[in-house]
Amino acid sequence: MTAPTIALHDIRHRHGTTDALAVDRLVLEPGSTAVLGPNGSGKSTLLRLLAAVAEGQNGTIRIAGLDPAEPLYRTAIRRRLGYVAQRDGLPPRMRVEAFCDYVGALKEIDSARLRRRWTRWALQQVGLLDVAGERIGSLSGGMQRRLSIAQALLGGPDLLVLDEPLAGLDAEQRAEIGNLFVSLSETATVICATHHAEELAGLCHRVVVVDGGQPVFVGTPTTLAERAAGRVWEADTQAPGAVCRAVGPGRFRCVGDTPPAGAVPVAPTVADGYLATVRPSTPS
């Protein structure tokens, strides 16, 4: 079975009276996709729709050619799905192994022995096998996030939808999880919303940038970086109208249209391309 392709057409999704998401057309092929965007831009809404966790209000969604609005198809999609929600959703009093066992049962793995094997495998993937007997509430935030990833891996899904999987992880853990995603995306469709443009989006086959509830960029990380070509520099001062971040004491890396005197042009990265996309420079 090949990993699923996801297609969205004419999606208009509202939360109360607010437009949360508007997608004319978006097709996500097998492989890895990073969804970047500012807070409140509609990333989580998009991921919930892709995971068939939220009901679509209008438009069409097809996951592996199936319509998630149809109950039977939705179940079929969920049999292939691993999902990490934005909030961990972990019961603090439950033990790590018992929680994975419970999620295994939710995933219709009826044999206790099989669930145990999947649990050990998933915990090993995220480096939590040593704390299998601990209560979830006693784990650090990073460990809890990795446990959320582990539960998504149970059953070997070929569609992984992960909302902020790197949140709360330290640099080493982010690198390990990044490697895991690269490995998983060889055989699965992996979609993750992230704020880590370089660490995760740079590893993905494609990037979707969502801003104001709409996808404003769909392409490869290289193409996204190229969007900032000729508009990135390092200087000792922040330039008005540019998006600048400190890269050292008294040193700034800026994305904008008008570099100040003495600025040194630098090669753009995925993060620069992202900043150039969601924060366009002020029209002159």
């Binding site: 999704h13 919930r48 939220a54 209000q57 999620v103 995933k107 094997r117």
Partner: protein, 263 residues
């Protein structure tokens, strides 16, 4: 035939390397040592040996014939926390105390118990499912398990546990005879109606509404007639109908339990 000879023969037949390390019976050395496979097998054996012994509740459920795939769903029911179990016991003790200390005649003494008893399983059902009480709600939504089945399993778990406690408590009520279990059908009706309403509203809100309606019904009925009549055959028949109506409503709207609705 030794195991090495068997391995060599099977390897030849299948055209694969031999699995077993060390020289064979004929003194030949193995074609290959599949260390990866051996390591995996040992890891699995280790995992089985290290597997934690199932707790008492799990052992009881398995003895009762509950399937391996259902046991974790029951034991992970949010309402089965110690705090809820403690609350059930306190509520039952309070109801029993009211029933035994009242100075009125026997029939009136058990009104408090009969009124309170259906509310206890109801509270459990309210805390068994939903995004506000279950931290794993969204994880469960993304899983293939039917939301209807999950809610049903959890509701039956809490209703079963609390009903058992209440039945035992009923035996301690000093008066009333068979009347002491007249809470049973109203309890089922309240639970069933709550589950039906929970397909549309937050389960806690649904349970609160049903509880208020039940208390109002009993209050009005007791004021108009005596306690025996309140929990008499009419109430029991009405409860049966309400149970059936709730079950039909819950089943018909079951799909609403399978997704987050922003509407």
């Amino acid at each position: 035939m030794s195991i090495h000879e068997l391995d060599a023969a099977m390897a030849r037949a299948a055209g694969r390397p031999r699995f077993l390390a060390g020289p064979g019976a004929d003194g030949s050395t193995p074609d290959a040592v599949p260390t990866e496979r051996l390591a995996r097998n040992f890891a699995e054996i280790e995992a089985e040996l290290d597997a934690p012994a199932p707790g008492m509740l799990v052992r009881i459920l398995i003895r009762l014939g509950v399937g391996e795939g259902t046991v974790p769903l029951m034991t992970a029911t949010p309402a089965l926390r110690r705090s809820f179990v403690a609350s059930v016991l306190v509520a039952v003790l309070f109801a029993l105390s009211a029933a035994t200390n009242n100075t009125a005649d026997g029939a009136d003494r058990i009104v408090v118990f009969l009124t309170m008893a259906p509310l206890i399983p109801l509270a459990g059902v309210a805390l068994a499912f939903g995004p506000k009480v279950d931290p794993t709600h969204e994880v469960a939504l993304a899983a293939p398990i039917d939301g209807f089945r999950l809610y049903l399993v959890r509701a039956l778990t809490v209703v079963g546990a609390s009903t058992l406690v209440l039945l035992l408590a009923s035996l301690l009520v000093p008066a009333g005879g068979a009347h002491r279990v007249a809470w049973l059908l109203p309890s089922l009706a309240a639970t069933s109606l709550t589950m039906a309403l929970a397909t549309r509203f937050d389960p806690r809100l649904a349970a609160g509404g049903v509880a208020l309606a039940w208390i109002a019904l009993v209050t009005v009925s007791v004021a108009a007639a005596d306690a025996a009549a309140t929990f008499g055959p009419t109430m029991q028949v009405l409860s049966l109908f309400a149970t059936a109506a709730g079950a039909v409503g819950f089943t018909r709207r079951r799909r609403r339990l399978d997704a987050i609705s922003d509407r």
